[in-house]
């Protein structure tokens, strides 16, 4: 898994690629919580277009990020979910609690 950050007009986009599993979800969690809790970024966009796989530990990290964003008055926005990631969201019945958009354009204009 790799994570690259780039500035958006009103926040930060984290471009995540590869598989998010038990081996590397702690790294994603650290970056995500760092943006929200330490840098106080108001909008954190997670570009998941190139994420092929996410497991329950990855979902748990996203839930932690969402909770932290709510606690800090920030927004965490997901976009570009692959069928595999979408399936896992549906299985966990969490798709309705996250802000999810199809693509970057829609996410940035939300």
């Amino acid at each position: 898994m790799q994570i690259a950050a780039r500035n958006a007009n009103d926040g930060v986009i984290l471009d995540i690629s590869g598989d998010i599993d038990l081996a590397n979800s702690p790294a994603m969690r650290k970056v995500l919580l760092g943006e929200i809790k330490e840098k106080h970024t108001r909008k954190v966009y997670l570009n998941l277009k190139n994420v092929r796989y996410i497991d329950s530990s990855g979902i748990a990290s996203l839930v932690e990020g969402l909770k932290a964003s709510r606690d800090n008055g920030a927004r965490m926005i997901l976009y570009g979910l692959s069928p595999s990631v979408r399936e896992v969201m549906e299985l966990s019945r969490l798709q309705k609690i996250f802000e999810i958009y199809d693509n970057e354009e829609q996410a940035l204009s939300s």
Partner: protein, 143 residues
């Protein structure tokens, strides 16, 4: 497949299970279900049975199951995991309510939702997990 408890092994197991599911001719979504279940099961063994300790033994076996043993017509895939960790706490095998929005506790739910059979057993001082995914009836013909 003989593994040691280490999260770095998970990507290798996923690739292996993906290939096994393709050989049995699972459609894409069902292949992903098999891969996801084995990955979550191994993660549970590493995190809970071995409490995060690395280098502990895990055996994974995978075989086709047949609806007709004589004709050897495949009907699905059986995966067994064997570990020597602490016994599985049966009270925790129910999963948790999904209306609680909190991290953790989803792995078992994913396995139960994705597989047709999920059975835990303690045998000869080891934890054994057996999972089976059957092919949909429409995929069974002409092999």
């Amino acid at each position: 497949m003989h593994l040691e408890s280490n999260p770095d092994a998970l990507c290798l197991v996923r690739a292996t299970m993906q290939r096994a599911a393709e050989i049995v001719r699972f459609p894409e979504a069902e292949s992903r279900a098999v891969v996801r279940s084995v990955d979550e099961a191994l993660a549970n063994v590493i995190q809970h049975a071995y409490r995060g300790r690395f280098g502990k033994p895990i055996d994974v076996t995978c075989r086709r199951v047949f609806r007709d043993e004589k004709k050897r017509v495949a009907s699905g895939l059986e995966i067994m995991l064997l570990d020597s960790g602490v016994p599985v706490d049966r009270r925790k095998l129910k999963g948790r309510p999904l209306d609680e929005v909190r991290p953790g506790g989803l792995g078992l739910h994913f396995m139960k939702e994705s597989m047709d059979v999920v059975e835990f057993r303690r045998t000869h001082g080891k934890n054994m997990l057996r999972m089976v995914k059957y092919l949909a009836p429409s995929r069974l013909g002409g092999e």
